[in-house]
Symmetry: C2
Subunit: 183 residues, 2 copies
DNA sequence: GCGCGAACTTGACGCTGACAAGATTGCGTG
DNA sequence: CACGCAATCTTGTCAGCGTCAAGTTCGCGC
């Protein structure tokens, strides 16, 4: 408790976020608690409150970070000349590699969905995804279809509903996205 | 629903389940509490505990009920001669009409995923879904693709991520599922 | 080197889920 | 018909949670 711990942590905000990511990866979004995170990081029970006003604020920050990471990954795929298949693969790769972020991002009842930073990052990711099907007839329908396909696969994979297969998830989505969107 | 009063305060189990469905539809699975449900139904704070041993038990019952309803809907579609498009439409219709059930069903961190009744109903639903693509090359991949498509669409629709369209969700899934699976 | 404000602690409040023990009531059994 | 039993529900209690308010410590600009 009082053994040489500096009063100021240094980067408590980052530390709490990382602890939250770890806890959510292990036990899901429901298994995360502000006091528990404070304990993991080694500060008092109200320490995190100063950085994220409340529990929803912490999850808002996590979701915003997630949308930013996703938008970056999608943008990088586009600028590297990737087609819609690569876009889908990047989406699934993000969901698998950043499972905690991904699970929070699509539970708007857990955070403040009108946060400006979050909205901006989310729109950026949405635009990158929609850009991949802009040249098709009824692009709105095509974008929803493509998004549904990769999002559903990522969700089912992360919840363990597909656990009986031992294939590589990114390879799988490449396979059936190819047979559907490259007629 | 409350025709007979077999006990002190009626059919408490059904009443609590219905109250949970209502609460989850309004505020999401995170916004439901055992004590709150007891209050809504008009019993003391520990009344529900006797029917569902704990909070996870309540959600287990809800999830099992949901998988049963889904399996029934899919089986009915199959016996009515529906093809894979109709199967997908039935899936999405279930997700939209029974949103509370659907949201709990795919959050295994909230309930006891090894409950026998739940496992049986879930397998039944999975078999009905897989049967629609059994006659294709690589049926495992096709079934995952079909499931991903409708599941992703249902999830995105229910979380409000697709809210900018005012089209009918079942008609939408029929449209793009048709263009993908009826080559 | 000093004070000001940000970062963190301490303490308290009402809420929650879980458990234990007591009260009430329908129902089968004798 | 009555009696006892077990299922149902209540009451009371406990630790833990999120949130707020007030106090303490310390980095940093002036």
């Amino acid at each position: 408790m009082t053994t040489g711990r500096p009063y100021h942590h240094g980067d408590l905000r980052r530390a709490v976020l990382d602890a939250a990511i770890e806890a959510i990866t292990e036990h899901g979004p429901a298994g995360v608690g502000l006091r528990d995170l404070a304990r993991r990081v080694g500060v008092s029970h109200a320490g995190p409150v100063h950085h994220f006003k409340d529990k929803a604020g912490l999850l808002t920050a996590l979701a915003a970070e997630g949308f930013t990471l996703l938008a970056d990954a999608l943008d990088a795929t586009v600028t590297a000349g990737g087609d819609i298949i690569e876009l889908g693969a990047a989406y699934v790769r993000f969901a698998v590699e950043h499972r905690a972020h991904f699970e929070v991002m699509f539970r708007p009842d857990l955070y403040h969905a009108d946060d400006p930073a979050l909205v901006e990052a989310r729109d950026r990711a949405g635009a990158a995804l929609a850009g991949g099907v802009a040249d098709r007839p009824d692009p709105e329908l095509a974008s929803v279809a493509a998004w549904s396909l990769v999002h559903g696969f990522a969700t089912l994979w992360n919840t363990g509903a597909l656990s009986r297969t031992d294939r590589d998830p990114v390879a799988m989505v490449r396979a059936f996205a190819g047979s559907m969107f490259l007629t």
